[in-house]
Symmetry: C2
């Protein structure tokens, strides 16, 4: 246990005896469903009876043909993705999508609107600068990114080829949402394409793909592991060709070659496939969303009934995925994190830019994990409040 | 077994009873050492006693800090990599290095020399065209890429910033080598940096890093799994800044941020770390090379004593990693592949551009795999010769 949390004593953590596992609230890479891990363990040695482990399969052989085809079909089913959208598996993380989006669809003299609602949205805004006129339609920095703007607060350029948002701000714990947790989107003028960084809430709730030109997400929070990104792109955008790009950076090439222009990250794509099958087995996005709302409520109820804890996000913008909060002092924050670890809850430390605590309750976090956290929070407040 | 090879009957393959595994001669992704897979299986569930599986660990947490630091230290130890070289883990495969190398180190009016000794070397030559004057110092196409040129056959530009080679040509089965299988390199004039695509033979034999400016390799043959590439780069080349590039495409940024500018492919990097520890346990590169020479000899001896089989590579250029050969007819090639599969040997079909058969004998292929293949080849010749 020496390596899990620097400040925690080595022998006091409660690893849950039955499973050998601890509740993992990491913001990403994040927790995976137990049964998905169990299947991966088996297929590491022998995948689908081939006598070859999944990591050792050629990306041009029949076993991987089937795995890739099923992953794409299941992904389409989960998201009700229309036939005029491509589903791509790419590498380089969502951070690479920050430049790939404008590189692939924005001409050097054209304009794109960006809404900087958090840390990663700021990075998206910065990385896009090389490729055209980047207009900041909303700047959440002066508000310390505590909320998502209303339509009245957004200053559109009025000439954007596309508008970029980040649907869930992992670090600040805010989300584009209605009061019931469903997807709220800005009203983008002139039918400009909406491009969405959906890293930390993709497939955690229903959404309408037709509302978007491009959706992208690193897989390591809700749809797999680090090393692959999911990109869902409307075909008409593939026709744009604003500049010469290396083959490996072209959405068009990835679409034409079905995410196999070169050797793809076979195992990460396989893992996304397993997670997709797990999502379908849970009943799809509506069922997951219902559970996610309930899990988040368990923790937000503690914040709302407490004078001890303070949440970072304005209640109307609270993320269902990442709950950010703090105690009255940094000392108590540190104590909270150490004691939570001793009670079998790990990775609760907030990001360095926000401090405090962050509990990520992704799809794979069981309800028992949210209950354990809420219960510990109440008990910690009683002792220290 | 239905998915392993299209043409083989489902029930007749010999999966080795004791292990549940088949000999896998895939050119990549390729076979991994059994004990590496066994350890990964365990740590998928609970990595290093953390109660969190390796796929679910934050890339900023202590467990991954240690995994990354050990991977880099072990890699440096294996390759005796000097301190003025960086070891980078990148994504996008070696195919992305085809454009990243010139993008990062070649000015638009400068010249680089390329030696096209095979299929991937051709691709490297093509992808570089966007970034400067690309001079083809050797063209192996007219010779059907059957051999590696002598120094006398190479036509250098005389003004290259760097020269690019591919040390082992996976598809044609040729390798830059001396008669004992050790590394042979072209004599590059004017101390130009040598850049080497070492995808399919990295860490299969000793080499002197100081002979190279940049070495790159997708991990999925000898140093891990698909989804990460190893890049070893001399620090002075990081000072070159021939053009503006997105942060994610800059070697300099990857070096400064120690391959963690964004979320890296945690699990693929972990797997490279396990393979590095396995290599050290085998006795390092000299020991592996000795075994690899012996394994390859088992199969090449069959070719040399046969009037039935024909090897693709000229004997002085034969690869120790990928052995390419054919029978007297395409019908017999197909029969060979089906029957080998029935005898517990899979993925022997040659690449579409060469046809015939290809047996990849990477580090992790046990000697028994080379023996089984050689024995089957003799037996098949007896029956069909």
């Amino acid at each position: 246990m020496t390596t899990a949390t620097a400040s925690a004593p080595a022998k006091s953590a409660v690893i849950h005896a039955a499973s050998g596992r601890i509740f993992n609230y990491s913001a990403g890479p994040g927790v995976l469903p137990d049964e998905v891990i169990r299947q991966a363990q088996e297929e590491l040695w022998n995948c689908r009876g081939s006598g070859i482990g999944i990591m050792e399969h050629s990306h041009r052989a029949k076993t991987y043909d089937a795995i890739l085809a099923e992953a794409i079909a299941d992904c389409r089913k989960i998201g009700s993705i229309p036939s005029d959208y491509h589903v791509l598996f790419m590498t380089g993380g969502a951070t690479s999508q920050n430049f790939l989006v404008p590189a692939n669809i924005l001409g050097q003299t054209e304009t794109a609107d960006y809404l900087t609602t958090g840390y990663w949205a700021e990075r998206s805004f910065e990385h896009a600068q090389m490729y055209g006129n980047i207009h900041e339609a909303w700047d959440g920095r002066p508000h310390n990114h505590t909320f998502i703007p209303s339509d009245a607060e957004i200053k559109w350029s009025g000439k954007a080829v596309y508008a970029h948002i980040c649907s869930n701000n992992t670090i600040y714990g805010t989300q584009w949402r209605n009061s019931d947790g469903s997807v709220r989107l800005p009203k983008v003028p002139n039918n400009a394409a909406l491009v969405c960084d959906m890293c930390s809430d993709i497939f955690s709730r229903p959404f309408n793909v037709r509302d978007f030109g491009i959706v992208y997400a690193g897989a390591q929070k809700n749809v797999g592991i680090a090393g692959v990104s999911l990109v869902i792109v409307r075909d008409e955008l593939l026709q744009r060709e604003p500049r010469e790009l290396p083959l490996m950076l072209q959405y068009r090439v990835m679409a034409k070659d079905e995410s196999r222009h070169n050797t793809p990250p076979v195992f990460p794509i396989y893992m996304s496939g397993l997670v997709f099958k797990w999502i379908l087995k849970q009943g799809g996005l509506a069922a997951l969303h219902k559970t996610n709302v309930e899990k988040a409520k368990l923790v937000y109820d503690v914040l709302d009934s407490s004078k001890f804890y303070q949440g970072h996000a304005r209640p109307d913008s609270r993320s269902l995925m990442n709950i950010t909060f703090r105690t009255p002092s940094e000392e108590l924050d540190a104590k909270f994190i150490v004691e939570a670890f001793q009670h079998g809850m790990d990775q609760l430390k907030g990001h360095r830019v926000t401090g405090g605590m962050r509990a990520s309750l992704y799809n794979a976090m069981p309800r028992a994990g949210a209950e354990a956290l809420a219960s510990f929070m109440r008990e910690f407040e009683r002792r220290n409040g």
